[in-house]
């Protein structure tokens, strides 16, 4: 049991590329921290620095009150689950789990107890003598988990552990991991590029972009109040609609509030309602329906706005310029080509500065 603190952590590769540009994160004891971001944002590098697999070129990594910058991975009291599981192909499931304990000189009897307990929890008891290649993807994933939990480490590190599984299994394992972590109450750091995984697993969510932390906090708080347009478009699916406030159509509707100096307006697809009314202080947009996606419980309407200036600050996950997604419940939907009017209330508007780096509360 331990808290993990990163203080101004930096990573500069020889050659000058700065992968991590000063990260501060504080994970309390027993918390589940998820690092999320697009590929190349440095989240895996950061995790590997916590594991001790990458050197730290600046700042401090503190595990359980001890700065571990110079400590070997084996001595950091961590366990890691890799994306490709990294099981020892020539060892049986039992030996895969026992290997780390043996290297630490633990008595065979104690090892046996721990491995069998882990196997019971993970439903691997009947497979202890098998080799990894005789297991399915989900079973290998569980062995990798087992290898981590038998160690009873202070911190679990997960590097996109579910990305090699099919969609159904991924959801099942996601729940498993969460339950297991709750039960063991072990501090965990989990890296993923899947925002849904991030939202469902995290106690504390760290959104990263370009080697920097964009926002840290409770996942729902981040969802409700994204600090930047990057976070706004990355968290939530489909992404938040972002549009410039410059067109007269939008500017006039925002006038008179503190939103006057905002450059970008964001509205989540689920916050729109198809209506002819304009709520007081809210925003209404005329749209032409371009495409419809029915997924059963909800329907996504893709509409386009008719206006000249459409381009907004470029961020990953951004919609094509001028396109707006509206999420409506059920399967009732307007026809393609139909002109509709959608509106969102004042409380559901997200306002950002022109460069998208600052949230404006109005």
């Amino acid at each position: 049991m331990a808290n993990v603190t990163l203080r101004n952590v930096r990573k500069t590769y020889t050659g000058g590329f700065e992968a991590i540009k000063g990260v501060d994160v504080d994970v309390a004891d027993g918390q589940f921290c998820v690092l999320v971001g697009p590929s190349g944002c440095g989240k895996s590098t950061l995790l590997r620095m916590v594991a001790g697999l990458e050197t730290v070129t600046g700042g401090e990594i503190d595990i359980g009150g001890r700065v571990v910058n110079q400590v070997e991975p084996a001595d950091r009291d961590i366990a890691m689950v890799f994306q490709n599981y990294a099981l020892y192909p020539h060892m049986s499931v039992y030996n895969n789990m026992a290997y780390g304990l043996r290297n630490r000189g633990m008595a065979e009897a104690e090892i046996k107890t721990r491995v069998e307990e882990a196997a019971r929890v993970l439903e691997l008891s009947s497979m202890l003598e098998r080799k990894p290649r005789q297991l399915s993807g989900g079973q290998r994933q569980r062995v990798a988990m087992g290898r981590a939990i038998v160690r009873q480490p202070k911190v679990f590190l997960f590097d996109e552990p579910l990305s090699n599984l099919d969609a159904k299994l991924r959801i099942a394992m996601r729940v498993e991991i969460r339950k297991l972590q709750r039960r063991l109450n072990t501090t965990s750091i989990y890296v993923t590029h899947d925002q849904l995984e991030a939202m469902t697993l995290a106690d504390i969510l760290v959104v990263m972009n370009g080697g920097q932390v964009e926002q840290v906090g409770n996942p729902l708080a981040i969802y409700e109040k994204p600090a930047t347009t990057f976070v706004a478009s990355f968290i939530g699916a489909p992404p938040m609609n972002l549009m410039s406030t410059r067109p007269e159509e939008i500017r006039s509707q925002l006038a008179g509030s503190g939103a006057a100096d905002a450059g970008i307006l964001g509205i989540r697809p689920e916050d729109f309602v198809i209506t002819d009314q304009t709520p007081a202080g809210g925003v209404a947009l005329p749209l032409t329906v371009e495409a419809i996606e029915r997924v059963g419980a909800e329907t996504f309407v893709y509409g386009s706005r008719q206006e000249d200036e459409q381009r907004v600050a470029a961020t990953p996950g951004e919609l094509p310029p001028g396109e707006v997604i509206v999420r409506i419940p059920g399967t009732e939907a307007p026809a393609i080509g139909q002109k509709i009017r959608v509106a969102a209330v004042r409380q559901k508007l997200h306002l950002f500065s022109g460069d998208g780096r600052t949230r404006i509360e109005a």
């Binding site: 590997r48 594991a51 991975p73 890691m80 890799f82 990294a86 020892y88 290997y99 290649r133």
Partner: protein
């Protein structure tokens, strides 16, 4: 159509049988000749059917040797050859797997230059550097010794490169998982890398054992004592006799005996050998 298919297969089989006959006939002749009376062979009256001297010829070959100038029992020659071939095969594998491990997994100064030096020795086989090698072995007083027979042939760029290529396909995560599991460099090598290299080592062993067994030039140069000669040299010496008949049954028996260990190694390790050459799953 079906008939034609059958006819084609028939032709293919005939061709294959002819091929087998061409390869197998000399071996058959050697076996037959090794069971006959020398006088018959010398008169050119050798039968194509096995003679009745099998046991006495092989007994004489293995335990006594020819009655001519080289009176070395072939059993002893086989022992010499076996020691040399095993030492070369095992030594080469041991040295090259360790150097490949160093080159792939450690960052030390001049790593790449060292790799390239190993690489260019591919262009310098024993035949090319035979004089300096002989000089060194002579200066170290290793003529007429097992060490002299095997040591100079142990260093191997080919095997080092083979292991290097294999190590580079081993996922980095395995090393990282080992590090987190508390395995140091030696443990990782011993517990993970060696077991994973098992099939590669077997394939290499087969090739290297046969290579070592078939050495001719090097043993010819550095062994002068009869009791140190290898079987390949022994056969040659038996054939050229100055003032006596060549004892063909014994020569042939020696040739047959010389074939046996490589055949045994190939047959015994065939499964691992093939897996080592074709395996892709790691």
């Amino acid at each position: 159509m079906v008939e034609q298919e059958g006819f084609r297969r028939y032709v293919a089989h005939v061709i294959l049988w002819i091929g087998i006959a061409i390869v197998a006939f000399p071996v058959y002749i050697a076996i037959v000749a090794s069971t006959q009376d020398n006088a018959l062979i010398a008169n050119g009256q050798m039968s194509l059917l096995p003679g009745g001297h099998f046991f006495e010829v092989y007994y004489q070959t293995i335990f006594v040797g020819t009655s001519g100038s080289t009176r070395e029992p072939v059993g002893n020659m086989m022992l010499n050859s076996l020691v040399m071939a095993l030492a070369i095969a095992v030594g080469k594998i041991a040295i090259s797997i360790i150097s490949a491990y160093a080159i792939v997994y450690f960052r030390f100064p001049f790593r790449m230059p060292i790799f390239w030096i190993i690489f260019i020795t591919l262009m310098l086989p024993v035949e090319v550097r035979i004089y300096p090698t002989y000089k060194i072995v002579a200066d170290l007083h290793m003529l007429d010794s097992y060490a002299g027979l095997a040591l100079p042939l142990i260093a191997s760029a080919t095997a080092t490169l083979l292991f290097r290529q294999f190590f580079m396909t081993v996922p980095d995560e395995l090393l990282e998982a080992s590090r987190i599991d508390g395995a140091g460099p030696l443990r990782f090598f011993w517990d993970t890398l060696l077991p994973l290299s098992r099939t590669n080592m077997a394939a290499l062993f087969v090739i290297l054992f046969i290579l070592g067994w078939n050495q001719y030039l090097w043993p010819l140069l550095i062994t002068t004592r009869d009791d140190m000669q290898t079987i390949q040299i022994g056969i040659r010496k038996m054939i050229t006799t100055t003032d006596a008949l060549t004892e063909w049954p014994i020569v042939m028996a020696t040739a047959v005996l010389a074939m046996l260990p490589p055949v045994f190694v190939v047959v015994a390790m065939q499964k691992l050998f093939v897996r080592g050459l074709v395996e892709t799953e790691k």
